[in-house]
Symmetry: C2
Subunit: 314 residues, 2 copies
Amino acid sequence: MQVPQFADIEKAHRLIEPYIHRTPVLTSKSINQIVGAELFFKCENFQKVGAFKFRGACNSVFSLSEDEARNGVCTHSSGNHAAALALAAQMRGIAAYIVMPENAPEIKKKAVAGYGAQITFCKPTQGARESTLRKIAAKTGATEIHPYNYFNVICGQGTAARELIEDAGPFDMVMCPVGGGGLLSGTAISTKALLPGANVIAAEPAGADDAFRSFHQKQRLPSVNPKTIADGLLTSLGELTFEIVVNRVDDIVTVSEENIVAAMRMVWERMKIIIEPSSAVPLAAILENKVDVKGKRVGIILSGGNVDLGKLPF
Amino acid sequence: MQVPQFADIEKAHRLIEPYIHRTPVLTSKSINQIVGAELFFKCENFQKVGAFKFRGACNSVFSLSEDEARNGVCTHSSGNHAAALALAAQMRGIAAYIVMPENAPEIKKKAVAGYGAQITFCKPTQGARESTLRKIAAKTGATEIHPYNYFNVICGQGTAARELIEDAGPFDMVMCPVGGGGLLSGTAISTKALLPGANVIAAEPAGADDAFRSFHQKQRLPSVNPKTIADGLLTSLGELTFEIVVNRVDDIVTVSEENIVAAMRMVWERMKIIIEPSSAVPLAAILENKVDVKGKRVGIILSGGNVDLGKLPF
């Protein structure tokens, strides 16, 4: 199992810089007053397709050789990774085959189709998704790009923390949410390389706490029936991301659904920006006093901004 | 009646620059594709107190002589101007007396009180508001700062268009919403001075169309019973703002409530920023084909971002 190093993230950054947005880092005086710290928010909600996922997808697509690229890329996803991979493939001018559960939200199907991907629908089970994907990969020769447990995806995601530190660092602490661990792995590698003295802290919904349990028990313990409003964080750590997280992250804490909604609302009201529930999880951990930030400079990655305005939790 | 000139806006800008945010100008590739133009959005939703109103309030407060300032400032308002004036007064360290209707939303009362203003509640009628304000002004000697029909307020509001043009101009057209006309007056003065060839176009809800009627009939015709979701635009032009608007604005168009909500939703979904309904009115006019922007560079002022998340129109 090859573990990415910071040099791999630097290489990814050079490769994807022409395609990604260098998203802004925003601050809020009133949130700083409430929490008694200086928080710096890296706004990946403003990234292309509305999420950091575009970084990893872009790096994966543009890292393929000409021969590999010719057959396209494929994945199964009902979320931001599907849209990100579809757009990255469109930018390189290659095919993207996306397996989606037939009950995926219409808006997500439209987004993926809008980027020119070829969608195959399947029953909404993990087994059906995986077997459908295997068939498509066999038929087309497309390269499978896993949403997080994949070297080049992790390298791409690590560029967000690198930009955050370059543009607003140094920090005492860098925080991000954790689902499958792609963003957290990249964040930990970049942060430990650029700011060896800074802590890397991840936050996870209590209802989908596999990373919390896996990290503290030092063995991979996937979630069985995760449930949370933070729909980007339902996935469990993979073998590669577990390896990186357990070795490079300083702590993982969990938060309640109630505090996720409160943190999300605080960002919407005070900062006037739209973030999805997953993005609010680190601030929720601060509001819940799970992380001591008093007097510290803290970098936080806001992972995305894709919400269904017809189904808001307010 | 003294009409502000661009030199007065430049002077206001020098005075308030240490206190205001120089808000960003954002673009959206997908909205540009939809409308077939290049739109540049000046984000006053990120301004202090969440609205452009802080510019005019700040200029009015800091333009007072020491003698005048000693007695404080006063106004009647249930909206963004009240919060803006309260914060500006707090920054100068003087008293702000705000008359609010007793049925004003709790969140607005709290915001104004949070900035240290002294609030007097009255019956929710125009008569009660004016008579209560007169009594307070007589008792305290405070200077009344009208929300729009006031020289220094107009000069402050004009700094937003100046920044927009400096940071992202030139434009073929500059657009903003119109309520009482303070923002539109300042926008017209700045734009005609900096870009004499550009058109200044205002958009107004059809349900509160006094500026539209007044402009086209060249006489001031206040609204009798205005009704619109764009709650910042319920007011009618004053004598001073009418004078400026009728002489310097190229056109005023009206839009439906439906298109205001559609435009607001488009900005939320595509740009991931929170704007209030009033901010969406110019884009609504473009979506409604009331303004021809095809192939043009258009500057648009997003007036504010204060919405009640518990009462969204989606």
